[in-house]
Symmetry: C2
Subunit: 407 residues, 2 copies
């Protein structure tokens, strides 16, 4: 079936979502016998609804190659929930109009579990309306919480940023005769994958002493005892904590752990600040919270070569599967072995991938030590390997500049 | 004069202080006809006072080479103010004892303006006591606020981290149909050098819209007007602000700008939070503060090749000058031209370098636009050039492991 391609980005950016875009673009250009034009949705599904598209020109391939090391979602992302098409067809009919207008028969959508839901709904709608279009989901999330795939593109690079940052912060803290207690607050409301990645730093000899993930209820007294013991021994202590850790009642610590100061004012701040306040008040130690904020998902300067490679491969795989007539699937990574690391790309039904959040399995968490197990190291270490080099122009990462479009 | 070498690190770590250590070590090993043993002070001058030294073994040169990309102050730093030796000799006599015991006749001290003061005092004391020892200061500070030198080792790498981080954060923010107002709070209580470096990001097409440094009084109304205008045009706004900006009375904004919430509680947080609160309250826009915290001085993963090279050269130069009989000087960088970038290493009297803080000259600041001028770009761009590659082991920066010492 000859037709044009459309590709959209959705949800929070990751460091390698643009590598998946590049994979789709390159594979589409390479199949010019089957594929005519390549369109990008401007701000994901909104671009498709509003016919706000960016048509790419193969002559700009050199600029487009820079997508592999560009932060953000270069073609614009969106958080937009499509209604059920049985009750609210308006958006769907506009999407159909856009697809027809531009003779689009290959639809690729790149995002997390909400985006797979969007993708699934569009696939079922187009089938119902008998419009010939292959719909494929491309996984993306730094949170690594998608079902059906060993891991998600984006996780490896964020994991690498976090591990390296923890190594550097511990080295900085180790410089002083008396170090501080440093609490690094890491993204992850429900799953601890990113926070757990801080453990990889310890392979350098430096890194976190304690790791707390949302999968295990947090106990303040046990935490304070452990910090005290570590500080007495090392004269410093480094803690990695998921923003979403909860107590045994399932309440977020950043809410229940808040303290009232001597003036009766509630102290503000995230979980890092809450833990730091408790350490200062109960143990009398200098404690500082650190938030990695946007950098943990935008850190293209130290991307994992493996992660970037897989992200691009998955984009290519989506196109080749669609050309084979497959639809309604998400591309998945199936790990064949960890030592040496081997994997294959497979696919799973969009319905099985959409809307679920994959948490860390308990065999990867050492509850007693407030750390991770060897199983986690085996799992995560292959994902941060390889550096991407030689991408700097004048000391800065070089960003694509394509005609008629600025993100 | 044949003798042994001692070297110490002092003040807050920088990303390349260990490169200067490496320069001293390599040049000392290379001059084995004049220099016997090479000692590192453990935690700076405290190590010298307490005879707590690390003796280095030339056979470990391969491990020591890793210092060039190791965060923190690997041999331990300290913040310790030596008293005037006319009134309080105790520390000085212990230092002299250590130097005599280990036959040390070359003393190198690596730090900022306080450390140059320490260095100067020791030099004058040893002269008074007629102990033959050459004393040389090695500049270091990410703040770039040392007199007598065009710039300081450590500044280039932190500037590069900040510029790249601002580029990445702007790309991330640009992904959304409606972006946020993001306020990045950057180190610098009295000088704006680091905050100004955020401007370099704009050479990529992305980066800060507004830059505020402590050298120019901050006006809240003008700031809010500018944010509003930029947001209306771009649907996002990125601000770089020094932690130490002040109002026209010289009071810190993070103190005077604090708002009281609807319960009458003073809102906590640094200047980023204060500005974000004002934007939300006055303009009704979503505003988020970001703090780079430790990463801006510990970010060895994207060090400036130029900065690292100069840091090591300066360490070597200190040794070679001492061997020529020079004492009581700090090594300085004298810029010969910016395009192309050329410099020479010179030296200046320690007394001229100690205790002063060099602020940004006004020709580098565009007060009207709340930005920097072309003069700043010419000054700073050469300092972030060059990448240091191939230093990763298993995805992490490889740290020296030397016998009998762990930092």
């Amino acid at each position: 079936m000859k037709g044009n391609v459309i590709y959209g980005q959705s949800g929070g950016p990751s460091s390698v979502i643009n590598s998946s875009a590049l994979g789709v673009i390159k594979e589409s250009f390479a199949n010019s016998d089957s594929i005519g034009e390549v369109y990008m949705m401007h701000h994901g599904i909104l671009g498709c609804i509003n016919d706000d598209l960016i048509k790419l020109d193969p002559s700009e391939e050199k600029e487009l190659d820079k997508l592999s090391h560009t932060a953000g979602a270069f073609f614009g992302n969106v958080r937009y929930k499509l209604q059920d098409f049985k009750t609210e067809k308006k958006d769907y009919l506009k999407i159909l109009e856009t697809l027809k207008k531009h003779d689009i028969h290959y639809f690729f959508y790149n995002g997390g579990n909400d985006s797979m839901d969007t993708c699934d709904k569009i696939n079922r709608f187009l089938e119902l309306y008998n419009y010939p279009c292959k719909v494929i989901g491309i996984p993306k999330t730094i949170d690594n919480d998608l079902e059906c795939t060993d891991h998600t593109p984006g996780y490896g690079t964020s994991a690498k940023f976090i591990a390296n940052a923890m190594e550097e912060i511990d080295l900085d803290n180790a410089s002083y005769p008396k170090g501080r207690v440093i609490i690094c607050e890491i993204m992850g409301r429900h799953a601890g994958w990113l926070t757990a990645a801080s453990s990889l730093a310890t392979l350098s000899g430096y890194g976190p002493d304690l790791i707390y993930v949302p999968e295990v209820p947090f106990e303040m007294d046990d935490f304070l005892n452990k910090v005290k013991t570590i500080y007495e021994k090392k004269k410093r202590c480094l803690v990695a904590v998921s923003e979403g850790i909860v107590d045994s009642y399932g309440s977020f610590i950043f809410q229940v752990g808040k303290k009232v100061d001597s003036f009766g004012h509630i102290r503000l701040g995230g979980v890092g600040q809450v833990l730091a306040n408790n350490i200062t008040d109960e143990l009398g130690l200098t404690a500082l919270p650190v938030e990695f904020s946007f950098l943990q998902r935008a850190c293209c300067r130290i991307s994992s070569g493996q992660d970037q490679k897989e992200a691009e491969e998955i984009g290519r795989k989506a196109v080749s599967l669609a050309l084979q007539g497959v639809s309604g699937k998400m591309i998945c990574i199936n790990r064949l072995s960890s030592k040496p690391y081997k994997y294959e790309l497979t696919s799973a039904d969009l319905t099985a991938c959409a809307n679920y959040e994959k948490k860390m399995p308990l065999n990867m968490i050492d509850v007693e030590k407030s750390f991770v197990t060897e199983d986690f190291f085996s799992y995560a270490l292959p994902l941060i390997q390889g550096e991407v080099e030689g991408r700097f122009e004048t000391g800065l990462l070089d960003v694509p500049h394509i005609k008629g479009y600025n993100c």
